[in-house]
């Protein structure tokens, strides 16, 4: 995610800590940072959430209007997910068209919502082939201290869970957006032969490989994305999945609250 330079001393320091089962901010290897979610943060959005995962700060807004469906999917609503890695959030983010990092992040979050049928797009049809609900999910990174994947997906789920289909568009009352599933992603980073969960910025910078696993309320796997140039063994993948499932349960409770 980041091409910031990191001092060799710092790199060695983090590796040493992780080798001995500790981390720079005092967490255990499987321990995630404090997660706070403020729903309905933005009154101009139909749904929104501000998520702080440690010092990583993400604001997600959902705008909902009506429009025409795509010709090839007349019985489906429209969902678009965008990520802006604005230069406010990090000295390495630049303004301009979205770069590959932002596009990967947006696509991973989008898939998580679409493929898990978190929001059943077929329920978003008003008149088949003519009029459907159109959802824009905009993910705004405000402060980047690592693990944007999880912060963005928690924010998206939280924003969707409090979103309203605006009645003024159809001449009825506001309806809650139906959210059917609660897939929760958990990201792990591999540093040498150790795996840490919810990596903060410095860990992410020196990580060899990254794996994001989203599990649902039944413990089933709903999405995965591996990143960076290193690799995981099969056992490591299994370990990340089972840990992600356990950690995900706790997170789900916070998002649903």
């Amino acid at each position: 995610m980041s091409n910031e330079v990191i001092a060799e001393l710092m790199r060695e320091h983090i590796v040493k800590l992780v080798q001995s089962g500790r981390r720079g901010d005092g967490r255990g290897l499987e321990e995630t940072r404090k997660l706070t979610i403020e729903k309905n943060y933005i009154s101009t959005a139909e749904g929104s959430a501000r998520v702080k995962l440690g010092d990583t700060d993400v604001l997600v807004g959902v705008k909902i209007s009506t429009g025409t469906p795509y010709p090839d999917t007349p019985n489906s609503g429209v969902l678009t997910t965008s990520v802006e890695l604005i230069p406010m959030a990090s000295p390495t983010f630049e303004s301009g068209p979205p770069r590959p990092e932002a596009i990967e992040l947006a696509r991973v979050v989008d898939r998580g919502i679409r493929e898990t049928k978190t929001v059943d797009m077929e329920k978003l049809v008003i008149t088949p082939g003519v009029k459907v609900w159109v959802l824009f999910i905009d993910i705004h990174a405000l402060d980047y201290d690592g693990n944007l994947f999880d912060a963005a997906s928690y924010g998206t789920l939280a924003a969707l869970s409090c979103a309203k289909l605006p009645g003024k568009m159809t001449g009825g009352a506001d309806q809650p957006l139906p959210v059917d599933h609660w897939p929760v992603s958990v990201t792990a980073a591999k540093i040498r032969d150790k795996i840490v969960f919810d990596p903060q910025l410095e860990e992410e910078r020196i990580a060899d490989a990254r794996l994001t696993v989203a599990t649902d309320e039944n413990g089933d796997i709903r999405a995965m994305q591996k990143g960076l140039s290193g690799s995981f063994s099969y056992d490591e993948v299994r370990y990340v999945i089972s840990t992600a499932r356990r950690l995900g349960n706790g997170v789900r409770g916070i998002i649903k609250a």
Binding site: M10, H13, I14, L17, R23, G24, D25, G26, Y41, I42, S43, T44, A45, S48, D55, D57, L59, G61, V62, K63, S65, S82, E84, I86, P87, M88, A89, S90, P91, S95, P97, F136, D138, H140, L142, D143, Y144, D145, K168, E202
Partner: protein
Amino acid sequence: MEDIEHIGKKIQLVDGNGRRLDGRALDELRPIKIEAGVLKRADGSAYVEWGGNRVLAAVYGPREAHPRHLQHPSRALVQCRYNMAPFSVSDRKRPGPDRRSVEISKVTSEAFSAVVFTEQFPRTSVDIFIEVLQADAGTRCAGITAASVALADAGIPMRDLVVSCASGKIAGQVALDLDKEEDNFGDADCPMAIVPRTGEVVLLQMDGHLTEDEFDRAMKFSMKAGMQIYELQKDALRRRYAVRALAEEPADTGVTQ
């Protein structure tokens, strides 16, 4: 930015007692809340709530100016990027800069160039990022007010803080700090930014229709309101550093920077 659905309705913007739709007097500001030092990565930051506006400002620098051909051999550049989040307005705004935000960014950069001691940092750039999270008219003034606190929080040497406020004309009367409804149906809007210590005007824009007398009145309203905003800014900075002095900083594990 306008709410099309409202057009056509007759709205009485000022009642017989000189009260406005939200109960304010003609020379009264909306409630303003300022907080300094809200982001981790940025060198300085501030958050402003101003009526229904929610604005974040971050400052990075002085740092190497990019692109390099912009570097000035004897002074720093002050570069501002004003951006609206897609969900900050009622009809989703397409991400990225449009002509309006490019213009606002330019006049804001120029306003701050007037107060920053740029000659102390040749070849560098002081980058100001203003993000409008939720818009309710007067976002540039809220943004400048926030950016000014963010610059101070970043320790950028300045001649003074900059305060900003708009006055306009609604229902034939000069009024301070128009909200969205008043801005849409009003007759004039005149945002300005002032250096409180000297009274210098560093930003001035106007659209609509004002007589010379009305402009004088608008200017007086904004000048007076500016002094109130100045106090709120200084108070936010005092709170930021008072908290730091009292609370014991968490033990430094050596990984945070």
